[in-house]
C-alpha cells in the first residue's frame, strides 16, 4: 500500500448522525467498555483504531444490538434510542459488515441481499425477477458488474463484500460499520472497496471503519477515534494526524512501527526447492533458504505464496519439482514427512489450522513433538511441562498457567502459542504464513523480535506476508510471486515497498 498524500476534500461540518455516551459493558472478569464516547457525522469515514481487546468490536456489537450495554446512552440523529436487538438496529438504519462475512454460499447474490425480506408475489411466492432487478440496481450503484443471479460461492471475497454492502443499502442503512474489511482483499480489490466507500459517504452515509492498518486510515479515513483498554483515548482529524502519535495512543508506549533490518548472516544451505510445479497453480518455483536467512515471499492474494508453502509442507501434492534439505532429496508427501525432514509451517489461519482450541497451552505446544517425549506410547509429563514452559516463557504468553485452554486467549497470545509449538519442534526451516495477521501492535513487535532471534540461532525462515513494510523490513531476500510464478528476486537492500508492489502487480 502506498501511503499517498490524500487529496484535500474540504467539507462543511456535517450533521451528527450518531452519538454514543459513556457506554459501559462488562463480561465476567473483564470490563470491555468503560465509559466510551463516540460521535459520528453523516458522510464521514470514522476510523476506530485500537489493539486487540481495546473494545472496538464490543462497541460495535453494542451499536448493532448484539450486546446489551450495562450503562450509557445512544442517540441517532439527535434522539435517544434503546436498541433492543440486531433486527431493531437494522430497522434504525445501522448496517454491519463483519470480518467473517455472513452470507449463505449456495444462495445467489440477490437472494442474499434480500434474505429474510424477499419481495413477495402472493403468499409464500418469491418475486425472483423483482429481487434480481433490485439487487442489480443496488450493485450497479456500487460499481459492481457481476450477475446477481450467481451463487455467492463463486464470487470473490471482494464481490461478497459488495453483496453485504448491497444488503445494508437495501435496508437503507445510514450508518455502516465495516470490521477490517480489507484483511482478505488484494490491493486492487481494496482500491475498489475504497471507491465504494467514497461513493457511499458522498451520499451522506456514515461509515465506521475498524482497521489495524495505519496506511489505510490515512487513505480512507476522515476522523479517527483511538480506543485503549475499553476507553476512548483520543479523536483526531486524520489530516494532520501523526502516525507515530497514533501508534503511541493505541499502545501507550513508544513502539517502533518500522521493522529493524537484521544484519545478513547467511550460513549453509538448508532448503532448496527446484522447479516446483502444480498444474494450474504453481509454475517452476525455485529458491534456496540458508541457515540464518529470512527469505520473504511477497505477492498479492492468490499469487501462489501459500500454495508454495502447502506444497513444500506436504499438504497439497505437486506434479513437478524437487525439494532438498541440507543437499539431500527430501521425500515429503505429508506434514509428518515435512516435520521429520526439519520443516515447520505456521499457517495463516491459526484457529482452523494451527490450534486445538479445547486443549491447553501445554498440550498445543508439544503436539508435534509428543512422540519424542514418550516411551512405549506413554507420555512423560515432566518432559512435556519442561518443554512447554521453556518455549512459552520466551514468548511472554499472558496467562496464569500453561494449563489454560487456548480458546480463552487473545489472538496475539494464541499466535504466540502456535509459534511456541514450532519452536518446541526445533525445526531447521520455519515457514511463516502471515505470522502477524490480526494481532495487535505489541504482539507484532514480539513476533518480529522472535523471527530475528530464530534467524540468529541459525534457523532458515520463509516469511510469507501481505504487509509490505513487514516483508521489506525483515527479509534478507524477497521473492515476489505473481500468478503462480516467482517473477522477481530482490535483495533486502534494494527492495522497497514500491518496487515489491510493482513486481507483484506486474507494473
Amino acid at each position: 500500500m502506498i501511503p499517498s498524500a490524500s487529496e484535500p476534500h474540504p467539507r462543511p461540518p456535517e450533521p451528527i448522525v450518531l452519538r454514543m455516551f459513556g457506554i459501559r459493558k462488562a463480561f465476567p472478569g473483564v470490563v470491555a467498555l468503560d465509559g466510551v464516547d463516540l460521535e459520528v457525522r453523516a458522510g464521514e469515514v470514522h476510523v476506530l483504531l485500537g489493539e486487540n481487546g481495546a473494545g472496538k468490536s464490543t462497541l460495535m456489537k453494542v451499536l448493532s444490538g448484539a450486546h446489551a450495554m450495562d450503562a450509557g446512552r445512544i442517540e441517532l440523529a439527535g434522539s435517544e434510542v434503546a436498541i433492543s436487538g440486531p433486527r431493531h438496529a437494522r430497522d434504525l438504519g445501522i448496517g454491519i459488515i463483519y470480518q467473517e462475512l455472513a452470507l449463505v454460499p449456495d444462495l445467489s447474490a440477490a437472494e442474499n441481499v434480500f434474505l429474510g425480506r424477499e419481495p413477495r408475489r402472493g403468499p409464500g411466492l418469491v418475486d425472483r425477477g423483482a429481487m434480481v432487478a433490485a439487487s442489480r440496481r443496488i450493485l450497479q450503484t456500487l460499481g459492481a458488474s457481476f450477475d446477481p443471479g450467481l451463487p455467492v460461492r463463486v464470487l470473490s471475497i471482494a464481490q461478497r463484500q459488495l453483496v453485504e454492502v448491497a444488503r445494508a443499502l437495501s435496508l437503507e442503512a445510514r450508518i455502516l460499520v465495516m470490521d477490517e474489511p480489507t484483511s482478505a482483499l488484494t490491493e486492487r480489490e481494496t482500491g475498489a472497496l475504497f471507491a465504494t466507500i467514497r461513493r457511499l459517504t458522498s451520499q451522506g452515509v456514515a461509515v465506521i471503519y475498524i482497521s489495524h492498518r495505519l496506511d489505510e486510515i490515512f487513505e480512507i479515513g476522515d476522523r479517527v477515534t483511538v480506543l485503549r483498554d475499553g476507553r476512548r483515548v483520543a479523536t483526531r482529524e486524520v489530516d494532520g494526524a501523526d502516525r507515530r502519535e497514533l501508534v503511541r495512543l493505541m499502545a501507550d508506549r513508544e513502539i517502533d512501527e518500522r521493522v529493524p533490518r537484521p544484519a545478513a548472516r547467511r550460513g549453509d544451505e538448508l532448503l532448496r526447492v527446484e522447479g516446483l510445479g502444480r498444474h494450474g497453480v504453481l509454475h517452476d518455483v525455485s529458491f534456496r533458504v540458508h541457515a540464518g536467512e529470512i527469505v520473504g515471499f511477497a505477492g498479492l492474494l492468490g499469487s501462489g505464496r501459500t500454495e508454495v508453502a502447502r506444497a513444500i509442507f506436504g499438504i497439497d501434492p505437486h506434479d513437478a519439482g524437487r525439494v532438498f534439505m541440507r543437499g539431500r532429496p527430501a521425500r515429503i508427501s505429508s506434514p509428518r514427512d515435512a516435520i521429520r525432514a526439519g520443516i515447520g509451517l505456521l499457517t495463516e489461519d491459526r484457529k482452523r489450522q494451527g490450534l486445538v482450541l479445547e486443549l491447553s497451552i501445554r498440550e498445543n505446544i508439544v503436539l508435534p513433538v509428543l512422540g519424542s517425549m514418550s516411551r512405549f506410547g506413554i507420555v512423560s509429563r515432566r518432559m512435556e511441562r519442561e518443554r512447554a514452559s521453556k518455549h512459552a516463557a520466551g514468548l511472554r504468553i499472558k496467562t496464569p498457567s500453561l494449563e489454560q485452554v487456548v480458546l480463552n486467549l487473545s489472538g496475539g497470545n494464541q499466535q504466540k502459542v502456535v509459534l511456541a509449538k514450532w519452536l518446541a519442534c526445533e525445526v531447521d526451516v520455519l515457514i511463516l504464513d502471515e505470522p502477524t495477521r490480526g494481532i495487535d501492535v505489541g504482539s507484532k513487535q514480539e513476533v518480529y523480535q522472535l523471527i530475528h532471534r530464530l534467524a540468529s540461532e541459525g534457523v532458515g525462515i520463509v516469511l510469507i506476508s501481505s504487509e509490505l513494510p513487514e516483508i521489506v523490513g525483515l527479509a534478507d531476500r524477497i521473492l515476489v510471486m505473481r500468478a503462480g510464478r516467482v517473477v522477481a528476486e530482490l535483495s533486502g537492500d534494494e527492495a522497497s515497498q514500491e518496487s515489491v508492489l510493482a513486481h507483484a502487480v506486474g507494473a
Binding site: L367, G371, R381
Partner: protein, 319 residues
C-alpha cells in the same frame, strides 16, 4: 472441557455424578428394594454390558465420529466364537476367534472412514447391516449353545463377592482412562477430535489414530459379546440390538461432546450407571416397559440439553 484432565473428576463429571446420586437418593426414598446390596450389585453388573461397549464408543466420539455397528459386532463376535467352538476348537481359541473378528470389524470401519473417506455414520451404518447379516448367515438364525463351565465363569464368577463382569468393566475403564490421559493415543484422540486439520498439520498420523478408535470399539464389542455368551450359555445372532444407541446415550450423558475433542471415560461410566439405575429403578417401581422408554429418552434429551447450555455459557464467558 479439556481443562486439567489430570484430576480424576472435574466440573462436568461432578455434575453428572450429582445427577446419579440424586437419582439413587430418589429411588432409595421411593422403594425399599433399591438400596439393598444385592440390588446395587445387580445394577452395576447389568450396566457392565453397555458400560464396556460405551468405552469404545467414547474413543470414537472423542475423535468426532460415531459407531452404529457396535451392537451388530457384539452379535457377530459371539456367533464367530460359537461357530469356532462348535467346529471343535478349544474354548480359549474360539474366544480368540471372536475377539479377532470384533477387532477386524472395527478396523474395517476405520479403513472405510480413513482410507475410503466415508462419513462415519454411513460406514458404520453399512457395517451394522453387514455384520448382523453375517452373524445370521453363520448361525442360520439360531442360537449356538453349550459352553464349558470354565468359560461361563466369566459371567457367573465372583472375586471377593464382586461379580467378575463388574471387575472386568472397572479394569477396562481404568485402562481406558490411562490411555486417554497418559498416552500418545489419548492425546492424539483429543487433538484429532478438537481440530483434525491442525492435528494433521502438526504431523500426527490422523488416519492411524482415527482407525485405532474404531478398532478399540470393535474389540470392546467383542469383549462384551464374550460376557453375553457366557451369561446366556448361548451365542445369539440377534444379540446386541440397539446397543449402539444405549452406548451413545451413556457417552453423551457422561458429558462427551458429539463434536469430538472433549469428554472422559469417567463421565461415560457415570452415564452408563445412570442408564442402569434408571432402568432398574423403573422396573422396581413397576413402571411399564413402554413408559420406561419414554423416561429414558427424556433423560437423554435433558442431559444433553443441560450439557449444551453449560458449554455455550463457558464459551461465551471465554469470548
Amino acid at each position: 472441557m479439556a481443562l486439567p484432565r489430570t484430576k480424576l473428576l472435574h466440573g462436568r463429571e461432578v455434575g453428572t455424578l450429582a445427577g446419579l446420586l440424586a437419582l439413587c437418593a430418589a429411588l432409595w426414598v421411593a422403594t425399599p428394594h433399591f438400596a439393598t446390596v444385592s440390588n446395587l450389585v445387580n445394577v452395576v453388573e447389568q450396566s457392565a454390558i453397555i458400560g464396556i461397549v460405551a468405552v469404545g464408543m467414547t474413543f470414537v466420539i472423542l475423535t468426532g465420529g460415531i459407531d452404529l455397528s457396535v451392537g451388530s459386532i457384539v452379535a457377530l463376535s459371539g456367533v464367530a466364537l460359537g461357530t469356532a467352538h462348535e467346529a471343535g476348537l478349544p474354548i480359549a481359541a474360539a474366544a480368540a476367534v471372536g475377539l479377532t473378528v470384533g477387532l477386524a470389524c472395527g478396523l474395517g470401519n476405520g479403513a472405510l472412514i480413513t482410507l475410503g473417506r466415508l462419513p462415519p455414520f454411513i460406514a458404520t451404518l453399512g457395517m451394522m447391516s453387514v455384520a448382523r447379516g453375517i452373524a445370521l448367515m453363520l448361525s442360520d438364525g439360531r442360537p449356538i449353545s453349550g459352553y464349558p463351565a470354565s468359560f461361563r465363569a466369566l459371567a457367573t464368577g465372583h472375586v471377593l463377592g464382586i461379580p467378575f463382569p463388574v471387575i472386568l468393566m472397572l479394569a477396562i475403564y481404568a485402562v481406558a482412562h490411562f490411555l486417554l490421559t497418559r498416552t500418545l493415543l489419548g492425546r492424539y484422540t483429543y487433538a484429532i477430535g478438537g481440530n483434525e486439520e491442525a492435528s494433521a498439520l502438526s504431523g500426527i498420523n490422523v488416519r492411524a489414530y482415527k482407525a485405532a478408535a474404531y478398532a478399540i470399539a470393535g474389540l470392546l464389542s467383542a469383549v462384551t459379546s464374550m460376557l453375553l455368551v457366557a451369561r446366556l450359555n448361548s451365542a445369539q445372532p440377534i444379540a446386541g440390538i440397539m446397543y449402539e444407541l444405549d452406548a451413545i446415550a451413556a457417552v453423551v450423558i457422561g458429558g462427551t461432546s458429539l463434536l469430538g475433542g472433549s469428554g472422559t471415560v469417567i463421565g461415560t461410566l457415570i452415564g452408563a450407571l445412570i442408564m442402569g439405575v434408571l432402568r432398574n429403578g423403573l422396573n422396581l417401581l413397576g413402571v411399564s416397559s413402554y413408559l420406561q422408554q419414554v423416561a429414558i429418552g427424556s433423560v437423554i434429551i435433558v442431559a444433553v440439553l443441560v450439557d449444551m447450555m453449560l458449554r455455550r455459557r463457558a464459551r461465551r464467558a471465554a469470548e
